[in-house]
Amino acid sequence: MNAPLLEIRDLRVGFPIADRMALAVRDLSLDVMPGEAVGLVGESGSGKSVTALAAMRLVAHPGRILGGSIRLGGDDILALDERALRKVRGRRMAMVFQDPQTSLNPAFTIGQQLLDTINAHRSLTPREARAEALEALAMVGIPAPERRLNSYPHEFSGGMRQRALIAMAIACRPQLLIADEPTTALDVTVQAQVIALLRRLARDLNLAVLFISHNLELVAELCDRVVVMYGGMAMEAASVEALFSAPKHPYTRLLRQCVPRLEGGQERLLSIDGAPPVLGQMPPGCPFAQRCPDALARCRSDEPPSRQLDGHSVACWVAT
């Protein structure tokens, strides 16, 4: 097995709440191999977006990365200075955000924004840069790219904007694309198109994808491996097949049952009782213990370490 492209080890990200640092991400470890698509799944507030921002070293003030390491192709991201960091952002790893309505600058045309991105990292003649921009738009399946270069964001539909943003992200041929809920703000049919696009790009450009979502079905569509997050911790990590066929962690099992199925069976949709822990009021032990049907006394006092179990990596005292 070759070395991981993105290697996150024991990452801790904190936000100051009432004079102390509350951990939004607790000792998270995560690998993304070159060309691999990894899904990062969790409920709102589980720390998945913070993890993504941390990988870019863009955790917003007053949040801070407190510990751990992030390596991209062997380079320590946390040790880079601003200059070196700018060369990594956009060039070696790119990011697509959740809301395509607000991620484009309304004051400029799509073409200008694409060219800005390209020119930030590559010294090309205007003609070459334009050709690159056209190619990027064509690659994400925007029809009539020559005409669309001169369009403003408000002339694009939501799906087209997300495509344009993906075009910007891949314009400099990064090795890693972090997609933070890129389909959440889109219609279901458009969601499927964007997923298909990401899958095609990953294959054609040998692009590694860290796909962040709360939608298990989409993750199953796109990803090779899944990491399930809860309360800032990685609860379970496994290949998509293994995770869906034989989930080990009680949380993953419950989560699977919360997804409605068309082919009937369930009469009432299951929901997990209780609510996710609030940042700053994290209980000791396993963050899921309070809602876990299988919880032992130990779960409420000691934080479960991550262990290997049939090819899964599980942080749970109970799972077998």
Binding site: H61, R86, L104, N105
Partner: protein, 297 residues
């Protein structure tokens, strides 16, 4: 009515906007073309014809030194507009920069240092500042190398500086919202420089209130210049200015020579009204929430 004109009026946000734009255009033309359109030399004395009431030869009459008031009013537009416009340019350069930096580096010492300084300066009214500073440094011309700057340059630089707090606040308020927008985050993820994001991405989205504010501030600058000149701390004789003309006319307010105060006074009022109408029209035009003509508080 001519359809072209009607369309122009609609574009300018109705009649008041069109009137404002016309006034501003007329005053600007008068200022630019003063040497060619002024019927007389604005500074040459002609004591034989002093204090003439308006007639065919002197439409606005003559003053106590026999100078043509129309010509002086036309030349006065130069000083007024120069002070008004250049002060806004200076204010915009400084204020926009400060506001952008404070908004972009929000939540830190930089923001606090800039905005609290701005608050402190803005806590004293503009006119008081202007009179106090000019009163202290004096009204003489400034010599910088081979260049000789008349007192009004001092005034316009000063007014420009005093505009910075207000414009910095306007920029700051709008830029604060824009600086946390997703497209700014997206630009950072693309590896863009902070300065490029500030001026290339955030600023273009903050322009409309700045354009409106800038237009309105031109009018304020004209009033400040006239006021400071009126008390003798602004434009120095013999350069004609509306403020000094008004000051000179004080002795004739009740002796029947009404044209001495009325015409420079009108020039100031009409110009200020013109810029205000234009500024209001621009606000209605550039503010998407008002484009329907509905007022949202």
């Amino acid at each position: 009515m001519n359809r072209g004109i009607r369309r122009l009026v609609v574009r300018l946000g109705g009649w008041s906007g069109a009137v404002g734009a016309s006034i501003v255009l007329a005053i600007a033309l008068a200022a630019l073309l003063a040497p060619w359109i002024a019927p007389y030399d604005p500074v040459s004395l002609n004591l034989e014809r002093k204090l003439q009431a308006p007639d065919a030869a002197h439409w606005f009459g003559t003053d106590q030194a026999g100078r043509d008031i129309l010509s002086r009013a036309i030349w006065g537009a130069r000083v007024s507009l120069m002070v008004g416009v250049l002060a806004v340019v200076i204010g915009l350069v400084g204020g926009v920069g400060l506001g952008l930096v404070a908004a972009y580096y929000s939540g830190g010492l930089v923001e606090q240092a800039i905005m609290r300084t701005v608050d402190a300066i803005a806590s004293i009214p503009l006119l008081i500042w202007a009179i106090a500073v000019v009163g202290i440094i004096g009204v003489g011309p400034v010599l910088i190398g081979p260049f000789r700057f008349a007192n009004e340059f001092k005034l316009l630089v000063l007014i420009g500086f005093l505009y910075m707090p207000g414009l910095a606040r306007v920029t700051y308020t709008v830029a604060q919202i824009e600086a946390v927008a997703d497209y700014v985050r997206a630009r950072r993820v693309q590896g863009a420089r902070d300065l490029a994001i500030m001026f290339g991405d955030v600023l273009p989205n903050c322009l409309s209130p700045l354009i409106v504010q800038g237009t309105l501030l031109v009018a304020i600058g004209i009033v400040v210049e006239a006021s400071v000149s009126f008390v003798g701390l602004g434009v120095q004789p013999p350069t004609p200015s509306w403020g000094t003309m008004l000051a000179d006319s004080r002795n004739y307010l009740f002796s029947g020579e009404w044209w001495l105060p009325v015409f420079p006074g009108l020039a100031i009022s009409v110009t200020v009204v013109g810029f205000n109408l234009l500024g209001d029209a621009l606000r209605d035009m550039l503010d998407p929430r008002r484009s329907t003509g509905r007022l949202i508080a």
